[in-house]
């Protein structure tokens, strides 16, 4: 085990997959010579050359479709969409082309590809550089959606996503880049579709993903001091969703909340909340609560914090649920 930060875990995963399989290649703005706007592809251009680590023009639709086409004939492209806010430009290729090709070809043409994209707040850069738009993609059959929260997870999940035979939207929260965590020295992968119980508990289940997992854990610490034992589930993969882990936990705790940074309304937490209520309503001691982003665009600067879930809010709601 070595402690590395989230940022490097991404770079290592890309590096290992580029080395392992020459069908893997990267495309994106500034992913090449400059090593990436966030330094996430540092060193890869030198190691694998300009064709496997390709700087592209500002053409998000085009490069996402490039990946669709390359994937169709057996390559394993990894696209970077610099900010998830710009994924609006790529959604046609993801939702209409990548997601539907295997289906409409009668199961004959697979589209392995990964779109990595940087989501969430933390850079305090306002309306066009801060969104988390995972629910656009969880609504589209044929896409997988991954949203990791730790260096260990991001590395193992990114490697699995690259090896997966389906299009994967892989979301990296900008607020996690400097987070450090243990990562094995030997090679490993984490299967898509498996949630991870990041903390065991018995009184309330906090379901979360991405950066919100850490707020949930922090809240769980605080709650423990007040005698509330919270279980924290990190979904890690939103599609396919690990319902089993969610439901088993809520059966035990009888209380659930979903914490996510995206806009609450029609966010992925609505799906999770609905499933829990559908399946376990008679077990619930309190309604499932969602703690999530405000119904506003994201303002510039520190004000953004007030638009995202906070540890205090999680604690407050957990207490309301448990007392």
């Amino acid at each position: 085990m070595t402690k590395i930060n989230f940022r490097w875990a991404i770079t290592h995963a890309l590096d290992e997959e580029l080395a392992r399989d020459d069908k893997v290649f990267l495309v994106g703005q500034d992913v090449g010579e400059s090593g990436g706007v966030f330094g996430l592809t540092r060193g890869l251009y030198e190691k694998y050359g300009g064709w496997r680590v390709k700087d592209t023009p500002i053409s998000e639709e085009g490069i996402t479709g490039l990946a669709v086409g390359a994937g169709m004939i057996g390559h394993r492209p990894v696209v970077e969409i610099m900010y998830m806010d710009f994924i609006s430009l790529a959604i046609e290729q993801l939702a209409n082309q990548a997601a539907k090709t295997f289906y409409v070809s009668g199961g004959k043409i697979k589209v392995p590809m990964v779109v990595r994209t940087l989501a969430g707040g933390g850079f305090k850069a306002g309306i066009h550089h801060s969104q988390s738009l995972e629910s656009w993609f969880t609504h589209i059959p044929g896409l997988k959606v991954v949203y990791p929260s730790t260096p260990y997870d991001v590395k193992g999940l990114l490697k699995s996503s690259i090896r997966d035979d389906n299009p994967v939207v892989f979301i990296e929260h900008k607020g996690l880049f400097s987070l450090k965590g243990e990562v094995p020295d030997e090679e490993y992968t984490i299967p898509l579709g498996k949630a991870d119980i990041k903390r065991e508990g018995s009184d309330v289940t906090i379901i979360s993903y991405g950066k919100s997992v850490h707020q949930s854990l922090e809240a769980a610490e605080a709650l423990a001091e007040e005698g509330i034992c919270a279980e924290v589930i990190d979904l890690r993969t939103l599609v396919p969703l690990d319902k089993e882990t969610i439901l088993k936990s809520v059966e035990k705790t009888n209380r659930a909340m979903v914490v996510y940074e995206a806009t609450k309304e029609s966010g992925f937490g609505a799906e999770v909340s609905s499933i829990i209520s559908e399946e376990l309503i008679y077990d619930l001691d309190a309604p499932v609560r969602r703690i999530a982003g405000a119904f506003t665009p994201i303002p510039l600067g520190d004000a953004e914090d007030a638009h995202f879930p906070t540890v205090e809010e999680i604690i407050k709601v957990a207490k309301e649920m448990c007392y």
Binding site: T56, S59, G65, V104
Partner: protein, 318 residues
């Protein structure tokens, strides 16, 4: 292949394309087709020329009027017709229908319901081929209408920048649904846009079979040599409506007459006879064999099993 063989082969494919369409329209009128059909009468020379100029390992990423290319490239009339009729024996098992023909064997890729979205896919196939270091060429087709989508610009720029092995084929048939192309752009020639990417733009008269063939051959071999993309604009005319059932109120009948008189299928046949490349009876037997193929295809498709509803819940994920 000598010239005679080549031309007969060419004529057979033209004839097949045209008469496939006739059969399809009859089946459509008989309610045997699922969804719409977009006639490609007037586009046959493009598809046939492309297919003959391509190698079997070359790829085509078509638009919605490219049945002539599918057939000429080797997709069987049976498989194509069955797909359009929603039968399990179709190339995609009957789930996609007319707009989404794909076939790994004959290298037809990219579902085409959203205009312009096939261009980035074609770019990706060309990129992957370049990366793999092989000599496979990608042909990507679209209409003059669809070429006004932003994807055209992004893709031509990248293809040119990286000198990818790809040929862009604009099938300019003068209409975009129910409006003339003049309502969509203020230029006559889409080929003119090639210069903005510093690539070659060439116009071919798609009512002239050999000219069109030679043009594609040139562009495809250029791409194969590593000399990068070409934008070929094939000038044609949509002889039928946008889709079956279109009353075509917007059509100038004089104009249609002008084009009908130049119908390349009739003209090419005449040239074969005039230039004594073939005689009547040779052509008749060739035509008869096409009709036999089509007859078998229709029978095959009619008696094939329709897509089972339960199968439409499969293949969401690989």
């Amino acid at each position: 292949m000598d010239m005679k063989e080549f031309k007969l082969n060419y004529y057979e494919k033209l004839y097949l394309a045209r008469h496939f369409e006739d059969e399809l329209m009859k089946l459509f009128a008989d309610n045997k087709v699922v969804g719409w059909i977009h006639s490609n009468k007037g586009h046959e020379v493009i598809g046939v020329s492309l297919a003959l100029a391509m190698k079997s390992h070359d790829y085509i990423v078509p638009h919605h009027r490219d049945r002539p290319a599918y057939l000429a490239k080797g997709l069987s009339a049976k498989s194509l017709l069955a797909e359009i009729m929603g039968k399990t024996t179709g190339c995609c098992g009957g789930i996609g229908g007319e707009l989404h023909i794909m076939d790994v064997e004959t290298r037809i890729y990219g579902p085409t319901g959203v205009l312009g979205s096939n261009l980035p896919i074609a770019l990706g196939i060309a990129y992957a081929n370049k990366l793999a270091g092989n000599d496979h060429v990608v042909v990507c087709n679209f209409g003059e209408g669809g070429s006004n989508r932003g994807s055209f610009h992004e893709v031509l720029n990248m293809a040119a920048l990286w000198s990818l092995p790809i040929v862009f084929v604009c099938e300019n048939n003068k209409f975009v649904e129910f409006t003339p192309m003049q309502k969509h752009m203020n230029i006559e020639d889409v080929a003119r846009r090639a210069s903005g990417y510093d690539i070659e733009g060439i116009i071919a008269d798609a009512f002239n079979p050999m000219e069109t063939y030679e043009t594609f051959k040139y562009a495809i071999e250029k791409a194969r040599r590593g000399d990068g993309p070409t934008l070929v604009e094939a000038k044609t005319y949509r002889l039928d409506g946008h889709y079956e059932g279109d009353p075509m109120k917007y059509r100038d009948e004089e104009e249609k007459k002008y084009w009908l008189e130049r119908d390349p299928i009739i003209g090419f046949k005449a040239s074969l006879l005039n230039e004594s490349i073939a005689n009547e009876s040779e052509l008749e037997s060739l035509e008869a064999s096409v009709h036999q193929v089509l007859k078998e295809a229709v029978e095959f498709a009619l008696k094939s099993e329709p897509l089972k509803v339960s199968d439409t819940f499969k293949n969401v994920y690989a």
